[in-house]
């Protein structure tokens, strides 16, 4: 059922030219004076790039911040694993980059399913991010002259990616973490590690608190505040296997959805083309090989089906460098969705390599001959070492075997230009929101977005809300809304512990993951999606009858934590499938088999789907209702993406 946009989905895009929108908006936002800032408490859930940068920046402004993370330290948040780099329109290499170009590449890369104003703002603040990080001591790669080095990434023809060896996320996060620890020292931030948010508390329809489980004692804790910032990352683990960290999860966003926050584009998932293939059932997660490798690695498969000669024995003329062949202008740097799908096609044709046939080669032989082993080592040494550790093969001698894997979720809670969800006082930052990447995220733009949200957007936009609520009554944790939310949380936990069934949480998660990967993955069709919605419903029923959760609630119990998350994935998985079924077009990472050209390229339907699909929860036994936010393109003209 589609309801008419009921006015909730007001994007609040400011007036003015694209270049002036953000400045105009800042000029119009209300401010909170320093003495009053001290009166506000902000609850920041999640301490990855988005959460840590927001917490630090808000504390610097004088707000009181409480920051929560599942992990034992904020520094371990999943952002730490990002390898490749972060984009900015500095144009240091003088290769013609501008804010406009970064904006244009990002919105085109997203297949015209994001807001112009948001993406332009992202490109505008990208340069400030680099300045900020360098000032914090982030050791970006430099050239001999002492200036910052750049490299190119998929979906772009300029070199605008800043990087810190293969550990860019780590260095950026440690920078944001250090800014946060400085505010801990100043008494403005309190950190709550090993805490998991299990519910949102609303009073008078505004977000006023959270319910947290202390992961060591199992106790339920209540925290009240004037606003809640969700910075809890993406939900790729709904697929069981992904490149996400093991504790990355959807619970916080899902609980907020169930409290009324609308979910934007849930089916938009990014499948990254270059990951290490699955080796067996015991596989617990997948490892990404940074896309930066595609600068020098050439992707190929044998021309012949079932050719199982070792790669070095397959002569040049019997190899199909399929990306270079199909996309001559971008070649191996074609965007992620295009590259992933191409890999799937060649494997479907029976030309995949390795034991399972579910892999393609990424070959560095030419680059090694051209640049020398040392140059390759300097650029990719740690990635090559990582590959060798995992597979036992040396990529200096034999080509890497790679295959696509779930990597990022463009979908997330819907937010307006201010990053506010449909629940006043609940803001969503970083990968947890749906905002800036449309149908497909370009490489090196998630780090940029997380930090843009945290350092530069929220410090401005939050003050407007707080100024409006300056005289609102403070809510105490004794409020009945907290009693109710806590009781519901405890009931859910007890219900799970009492199922006392036979199958492990892993059994269920693997089954869900398989359904999702096969039918809500790289390629989707109506029949399978309808089937998968039924199957997920059945699986969910079985879960609540037959799951076996070990141990008790009142100690560290990771399988209980895990079970609560899997329970939420089973509901979210269904919504993802519903959204995929509803979106009768192919765009970005969402490829509907019914909507393709003769040679297998995606066909977008701008007439009917130039919009964001936003789902509203209506109850466990009711279908969610879809609302749409129309996307208007005033400054760019959507074209069919071509990387040919």
């Amino acid at each position: 059922m589609t309801a008419k946009n009921n006015g909730i989905l007001e994007s609040k895009i400011p007036e003015g030219s694209l270049q002036d929108k953000w400045d105009n908006h800042i000029n119009n936002l209300r401010l909170v004076n320093p003495a009053n800032k001290r009166k506000f408490t902000i609850l920041v859930v999640g301490t990855g790039l988005a959460g840590a940068s927001a917490a630090a920046s808000l504390a610097e402004l004088g707000y009181n911040v409480k920051a929560f993370t599942i992990l034992d330290s904020p520094r371990r948040s999943h952002s730490i694993a990002a390898q490749g780099g972060i984009n900015a329109a500095k144009n240091y290499p003088n290769d013609g980059d501008t804010i406009w170009r970064l904006f244009h590449d990002t919105i085109k890369g997203g297949d015209y399913r994001s807001r112009e104003a948001n993406v332009y703002r992202l490109a505008q603040v990208s340069n400030n991010i680099i300045d900020q990080c360098v000032a914090q001591g982030v050791p970006f790669a430099r050239e001999y002259g002492g200036l910052l080095d750049n490299r190119s990434f998929g979906g772009a023809q300029v070199s605008r990616t800043f990087y810190a060896r293969g550990q860019t996320g780590q260095q950026l996060l440690l920078g944001a973490y250090s800014a946060m620890m400085r505010q801990v020292s100043a008494g403005k931030i309190e950190i709550y590690p090993r805490r998991e948010m299990l519910d949102l508390v609303k009073v008078d329809d505004k977000a006023r608190g959270i319910v947290i489980r202390n992961l060591i004692t199992g106790e339920i804790e209540r925290y009240a505040g004037d606003a809640v910032l969700l910075c809890t990352g993406g939900y790729g683990n709904a697929y069981y296997l992904s490149t996400m960290a093991k504790n990355s999860n959807a619970t916080a966003v899902w609980r907020c959805y169930k409290r009324g926050a609308q979910f934007g584009n849930p089916s938009f998932t990014q499948i990254h083309p270059t990951c290490i293939p699955v080796s067996g059932k015991y596989q617990s997660k997948l490892t990404l090989m940074s896309e930066s490798l595609r600068n020098d690695g050439r992707v190929w498969v044998p021309k012949k089906k079932g050719d199982n000669r070792p790669p070095n024995e397959i002569p040049e003329e019997e190899r199909d460098y399929y990306l270079e062949r199909r996309y001559p202008s971008f070649g191996n740097l074609a965007p992620r969705d295009v590259s992933s799908r191409s890999a799937k096609y060649v494997c479907d044709e029976g030309r995949g390599v390795g034991k399972t046939g579910l892999a393609v080669y990424m070959d560095f032989q030419d680059a090694i001959e051209r640049l020398g082993v040392d140059a390759i080592k300097a650029k990719y040494g740690n990635l090559f070492a990582m590959y060798e550790k995992i597979t036992g093969e040396n990529p200096y001698n034999v080509p890497m075997r790679i295959f696509p894997a779930v990597h990022f979720t463009m979908g997330g809670l819907w937010v307006d230009y201010n990053l506010s969800s449909t629940i006043p006082g609940l803001y969503v930052l970083g990968e947890a929101n749906f905002a800036d990447h449309g149908g497909n995220r370009l490489g090196a733009s998630a780090l940029m977005q997380g930090l843009a949200d945290g350092y530069f957007v929220i410090p401005n936009t939050l003050s407007d809300y707080l100024a409006e609520n300056l005289h609102a009554e403070k809510v105490s944790t004794d409020h009945e809304a907290f009693d109710k939310a806590e009781k519901e949380t405890m009931d859910r936990i007890n219900k799970l512990l009492n199922v006392d069934g036979k199958k492990t949480v892993l059994d269920f998660h693997r089954e869900l993951g398989e359904l999702m990967w096969d039918h809500v993955g790289m390629s989707r069709n109506k029949k399978d999606l309808e089937m998968v919605i039924r199957k997920i419903t059945e699986l969910r029923e079985e879960f609540w009858k037959d799951v076996n959760i070990p141990g008790e609630n009142n100690t560290l119990n990771k399988y209980l934590e895990y079970a609560l998350r899997v329970a939420d994935y089973m509901e979210l998985g269904e919504l993802m499938a519903r959204d995929a079924l509803d979106r009768e077009e192919s765009c970005g990472g969402h490829f509907r088999e019914e909507h393709q050209t003769e040679d297998g390229e995606a066909v977008r339907d701008d007439e009917n789907f130039s919009n964001v699909s936003c789902w509203e929860y209506k109850g466990d036994d009711k279908k969610p209702v879809k609302h749409v936010e129309d996307l208007n393109f005033e400054f760019v003209t959507p074209t069919q993406r071509s990387y040919k």
Binding site: S53, S57, D72, S73, P74, R75, R76, H78, I80, A81, N128, I130, D131, Q132, C133, V134, A135, G137, P139, A141, R142, Y144, G145, G146, L147, L148, A164, R165, Q167, Q170, Y177, S178, A179, M181, R182, S185, P193, I216, A245, K246, G280, Y282, Q283, S284, K285, T287, M386, K389, I390, G392, F456, T504, L506, N548, P550, G551, T555, L556, N557, K558
Partner: protein
Amino acid sequence: MTIHLKIWRQKDRNTPGKLVDYTMDDVNPDMSFLEMLDWLNERLMNEGKEPIEFDHDCREGICGSCNLVLNGMAHGPHEATAVCQLHMRKYKDGDTIVVEPWRAKAFPMIKDLVVDRSAFDRIMTAGGYISINTGAPADANALPINKYDADLAFDYAACIGCGACVAACPNSSASLFTGAKISQLAHLPQGNPERKRRVVNMVDKMAEEGFGDCSNFAECEAVCPAEISITAIAEMRREYFNALSEIE
């Protein structure tokens, strides 16, 4: 292949723990060590027993969550590797592996193989940062940094905060961890203004948290998954003495 495990089980800080024997006879050489533990946990749950608690998150050697001592070696036998990146092909059929948590006074026990490393966060709070507010710092290229220093700063910045250095040290010293941050910031011009205060505060905090002194055993360097060089400790000492002599 078959692997015999002796794993530390401990209910909580106040209950004594012990090594418990488990035999796994369906270990695949391509499994990671942690995947073998997952596999064992599934078996335990299917037998109605309590699974083994251990910390992990990224499983790529970068978040610093995993913390196991295998046969007396923090992070196991493989050099420059966190235990999550260790694969079973490193072992032989029939091997016995003793699995223990980090042991140090400053890392109190939580359960089984999980310990509390929040002392590291408190050391960072004492000065592991550059005091700059979010705003408009100068253009990133306004201050060139020679590549040698930038690379050196990076080498130190690579620390993943796992705590293996403490676990391996006979004195349970956190000098490699603390020295790495101090040295990183000492090699960057941005770190200069607070250089003296930083080293004194961080070193004092380290002692206050109950970490021991360094007496140059160099066990830390040997187990460090991020290959932090022990010169970090020498640099930290030099910084400390310089700072004290000037403050006095």
